[in-house]
Subunit: 318 residues, 2 copies
């Protein structure tokens, strides 16, 4: 499987210091020229790679490793946060996922510092954590609705410092902001009103929140500039096409996992010794069967490892 | 998609009071005569159904419902517990999953009653909880290794009482015991020793644990008889064929979710009122687009609901 991206989406999507949200095209597909159908097929193949990369991370975590990954998803209502969890995270083994949706804080959470509930939800080593909304709500809804009287620059600095500590602990942070246009949000909300199977996704606070569109754009703009750091940059994803936003986050996540460069962990016990002990508990005929299988299996494993290495290399080639 | 099972696997797999583990064929495929290849295809189609059923449960939970489901997976090393999580639970939306793997208790956990950590991990309303090992380790490894000095019948009764409380709270419990044969376990452990990509799954306590095979079988036999209750029966799954055990658990889970009989939740707000409010925030051209889409969408929804109903009915027809 060759790389079908025509340029590295990380370069195209990364928010810099002078990021201009107002000029951002939310229907664009940066780095991808092949359309929706090819995107779906490519995403499925990337899913297999994602799943293999995740298994190495999980194996690493189970054998004492400290590395982890945290995917932070932000976006307004209907931007497609749930779709990222379902269709991107959903391609990985749920055993190695740790998913948290942050809604309006509970009374207990409100009694603590706003980072308290975030800290508690950080992924353990070996896990891919997914935050559906996050501490960034504390500079978005909290700012727009004036729920706190703070200097926002202080809060951005506090968040940057918090993320530095997370990264220092071994967790790589991947932050994606899904940006939907106002008209597309209207269409998606209308669909939720029209379809009985989507009613549960609608809330009577959605239209009032939409009325604060401009204030949210301003809060996003400031947040993206102030908290897109070297160690935890923001990737801003055009989200009017769900197939593109899911494809882009899949690619960013695969690259993030590949960058960890994890192989299979070393063993801490003696293979020949364990093999002898195990053989002593098996019938001789079963031992013979096991050894007959080994060669065929190892050839298959070598083949799949070579395929994996090729896929990983393709992530970085254009 | 017609039902491809030739009899209800619930009848074939349910452990009764006189269940005889010694007579249980671990390579059998009760209720399924069509082999592995058809099983894989059928399982994928059931996966779509599972995912739709789960979405209804999740919607129910998000709108104040109390129902939940808990899948308890037990089995010795290599029985395929992880494969059930990956390949069965992995077909659902990870947003609606709550997965816990119970390993040897931590110091904090040991300081509490053995059900303390279990209670904390119970799924919230709307979720499908998955326990990879569970409180049943407290009548399995704890009994075999004599880690507690208790009357096992008292503990079975305590567990039955605990599960009654869980069921009374609205959570349906589905318990599956994956039963692998001793020779197949030997083959699978040998594979973990032979394959570098499986080493991390092997532990130097695996062979010593395998040496206690007979004691574990006895503990399983007693547990299955004593805790297969009317409200939370055990299903004993032959696990020498992974394709069968995954297929069987998929089917049991789909039926468990279908038995909840959940439709889409009712709305608590006025649809016309919300529609008017939303339209006021949209450009007239976008409103026209939205309304033009509605008819086509509703026809598609009705079609997919009809297909869903048919699939659900097929679960109960032989």
């Amino acid at each position: 499987m060759a790389n079908k991206w025509n340029s590295d989406p990380r370069d195209a999507l990364r928010a810099g210091e002078d990021f201009e949200l107002a000029a951002f095209d939310r229907a664009a597909t940066p780095g991808w020229k092949k359309g929706k159908k090819k995107a779906r097929a490519f995403m499925a193949s990337r899913g297999e790679l994602l799943s293999e990369l995740q298994e190495r991370l999980y194996a690493h975590g189970r054998t004492g490793g400290a590395r982890g990954v945290l995917l932070v998803i932000q976006g307004l209502d209907t931007a497609g946060k749930g779709g990222i969890v379902r269709h991107v995270a959903g391609m990985m083994d749920p055993q190695g996922l740790s998913i948290h949706a942050f809604r309006a804080p509970t009374e207990e959470e409100r009694a603590h510092h706003y980072l308290w509930r975030i800290e508690k939800a950080l992924p353990r080593p070996g896990y891919v954590g997914v935050f559906d909304r996050s501490h960034y709500e504390d500079v978005l809804v909290v700012r727009v609705d004036q729920l706190a009287d703070v200097d926002w620059n202080d809060r951005y600095a506090e968040i940057n410092e918090f993320e530095r500590r997370i990264v220092d602990s071994g967790i790589t942070i991947l932050k994606v902001a899904l940006m939907v246009s106002k008209e597309e949000q209207g269409l998606r909300l209308m669909e939720r009103l029209d379809r009985p199977d989507k009613h549960w996704k609608f809330s009577d606070s959605d239209v009032p929140t939409r009325a604060k569109w401009d204030a949210y754009q301003e809060a996003y703009q400031d947040m993206l500039r102030a908290t897109s750091t070297e160690i935890a940059p923001w990737y801003v994803i055009p989200a009017d096409n769900k197939w593109y936003s899911q494809l882009a986050v899949t690619e960013l996540l695969a690259r993030t996992l590949a960058d960890l460069g994890l192989g299979w962990p070393d063993v801490t016990w003696s293979i020949p010794e364990q093999r002898r002990a195990l053989e002593a508990t098996m019938k001789p005929a079963t031992v013979a069967t096991a050894h007959a299988r080994t060669d065929a299996t190892l050839a298959k494993v070598a083949e799949s490892e070579a395929e994996f290495d090729q896929l990983v290399r393709s992530l970085f080639r254009f």
